[in-house]
């Protein structure tokens, strides 16, 4: 019985670990498939879908995360960059993003970066 429980736990944790990024759509409709995201990342996904998309498509986010290069500037897109972009959006007039929104979305983009390098 204990062995069975142990194997179940391994299977469940393996499901989380295998949540590789899937990209749906093309061009401006490009987006991440949220089906495999853990529940605690749902708020981040929701903020991205509402606040970020208010001004630009998610294509540039997908390209930045999957390539490691910010598509507009050609700069490296890593965890330092996610914080930098968060601060940029916080300070941008009329970006309509609160401090909590910024923290949530930085956490979500860092999660995406981690997922993107999983084999």
């Amino acid at each position: 019985m204990r062995l069975l429980l142990f194997l179940m736990m391994v299977c469940l944790s393996a499901t989380d670990a295998d949540a590789k990024l899937k990209v749906l759509g093309k061009g401006e409709r490009m987006r991440f498939d949220s089906a495999g995201f853990p529940a605690n990342m749902k708020p981040g996904y929701d903020v991205m879908n509402t606040k970020c998309k208010a001004c630009h498509s998610l294509e540039r986010v997908v390209l930045a995360i999957t390539s490691g290069i910010a598509p507009v500037t050609g700069q490296p897109f890593d965890k330092m960059a996610t914080k930098s972009y968060g601060i940029k959006m916080l300070r941008k007039p009329n970006s309509n993003m609160s401090r909590d929104d910024i923290k949530t979305i930085i956490g979500f983009m860092n999660f995406l970066l981690d997922e993107s390098v999983k084999p």
Binding site: C55, H56, S67, G68, I69, P71, V72, T73, G74, Q75, P76, K83, S84, G86, I87, K88, L90, R91, P93, N94, R99, I102, K103, I106, S116, V117, P119
Partner: protein, 468 residues
């Protein structure tokens, strides 16, 4: 009644512009970098912090580029292929793929966009032709117009713009006026272009600016700029605005002298961003027909906000502080020159000293600008020494992403005229789409001599500017 009819006509003409809802926006920088206008502008053409950084660094995003992350295992560069005698169609692709997956040198600067088309990159050619057009249409309503022509539609301009950078080393900027009509004079007309070029149809079909800048000479922060351009004096070029009219500090003239702070000149300039927040520039101007060069210098420092290389400030996301949103830039500059009239060998020796302050806090921005000057012969004849003191203060607020309101006060005391001019200029600017700007501006001007008010003038301006 008739005047209300004309005002109604004025507003009706503006309505189609206000409700326009579709356009294709591909100005040179937007097209080249595949980004929207608001990446660098509040409302085009006024620059935001990133636009300022992009401009100061010769149209380059300044951080060092790195290789993109590798997600595939590192493999050695290809093994020697088998020679088949008739060529191998698949070999070139295999070579490319294998070499791209090989380990990168940490110091290698990798520019993915530049390598999309290697022959173009090697040649230094941009992948897209960096050309755009900018059109300006202005209308003025002046109930006190001297010629009784209260509603003036006769001012317009069309300019060809080009800018970019060749392999991050040589940047360039070109502005060619294809067509201009009208001349800006608050008492006469309202086109804010070519203030010194006369009036009439197509008054100035000429190269307004053409400049090249060699970036980072000998890997130092110093850039060398040469050509016909606006010497770096004030923090803001006169085009860096949302209003129809320009800052008086940038455009005022003394006597018959055509010198303004923002006049394009044939010049060579060295400039540099030092320590991320200090900007310095110095240059010499060559004016035709005179033995001595003119000289100028500028220094500015930015506290808070995005630095001059476009890097965000450190912000503690867990603790809010008002300085998170505050940016202050201070500037000082000077110009020493000597010019002459169109048909005179008489010389006017002059100088200008100025200071600027730019304060940005969230949606609010305040700009202060002051200039003092002295001309020793501004009418090229009487040798009447003339002092000038000009101030401008502008407060602006971004009401929405595409809506900005501002009010400006100007004080202009030019000894030559014996009149002190006060102007109050409120304006609202709306961008229905990012490449289209509509400005409604009211100007109130009062002219005083030493005893009393000698004249007042009121004017309503409607400016439309679009670029594509």
């Amino acid at each position: 009644m008739q005047k209300y009819n004309k005002l109604l006509l004025f507003i009706l003409l503006a309505l189609p512009i206000v409700f326009v809802n579709q356009a294709s926006a591909i100005p040179a920088f937007s097209y080249e970098h595949n980004t929207e206008c608001t990446a660098c502008h509040t409302i085009y053409p006024e620059l935001n912090e990133y636009g300022e950084a992009f401009l100061k660094n010769g149209y380059v995003w300044t951080k060092k580029l790195r290789a993109p992350k590798e997600t595939t295992p590192v493999k050695p560069v290809v093994q020697k292929p088998e020679v088949k005698g008739v060529g191998d169609q698949a070999l070139p692709e295999q070579l490319k793929a294998d070499s791209l997956s090989a380990e990168e040198d940490d110091d290698l600067v990798y520019a993915p966009k530049q390598r999309k088309n290697e022959p173009l990159w090697i040649s230094g050619l941009p992948e897209k032709l960096p050309l755009s057009l900018s059109a300006t249409l202005n209308m003025a309503y002046n109930k006190d117009a001297a010629d009784k022509d209260k509603l003036d539609f006769s001012t317009r301009a069309l300019s060809l713009l080009s800018g970019g950078v060749f392999r991050d080393k040589v940047s360039f900027w070109v502005k060619y006026n294809l067509y201009t009509q009208g001349a800006f004079d608050p008492a006469v007309s309202n086109t804010p272009l070519n203030t010194t070029a006369g009036s009439g149809p197509n008054a100035a079909p000429d190269i307004e600016e053409v400049a090249f800048m060699y970036r980072k000479v000998f890997e130092t922060p110093v850039n060398i700029k040469v050509g016909r351009f606006r010497p770096k004096l004030s923090l803001w070029k006169k085009s860096n605005k949302t209003s129809v009219s320009d800052f008086a500090t940038n455009t005022y003239q003394v006597g018959s002298s055509k010198f303004t702070l923002d006049a394009p000149e044939d010049a060579i300039e060295a400039n540099a961003v030092i320590g991320n927040r200090l900007f310095v520039a110095a240059g010499i101007v060559d004016r035709n027909g005179q033995e001595q060069k003119e000289r100028y210098g500028h220094i500015s420092y930015k506290v808070g906000g995005t630095d001059l290389l476009g890097k965000e400030p450190e912000v503690d996301l867990d603790n809010e502080h008002f300085t998170d949103y505050l940016a202050i830039t201070l500037a000082a500059y000077g110009y020493f020159g000597k010019n002459s009239g169109d048909s005179s060998f008489e010389r006017n020796k002059f100088f200008r000293f100025g200071g600027d302050l730019d304060v940005l806090y969230m949606n609010f921005r305040c700009r202060l600008s002051g200039v003092v000057g002295k001309d020793d012969n501004p009418d090229f004849g009487s040798k009447l020494k003339t002092d000038s003191y000009v101030l401008a203060a502008q407060a602006e607020y971004m009401l929405a992403l595409n809506l900005l309101g501002l009010v400006r006060y100007e004080y202009q005391d030019i000894g030559y005229s014996g009149v002190i001019v006060h102007r109050i200029i409120p304006a609202v600017t709306y961008a229905p789409i990012e490449n289209t700007k509509i400005t409604m501006e009211y100007q109130y001007q009062r002219s005083d001599n030493e005893i009393s008010t000698v004249a007042t003038d009121q004017k309503l301006l409607l400016g439309l500017r679009f670029t594509f």
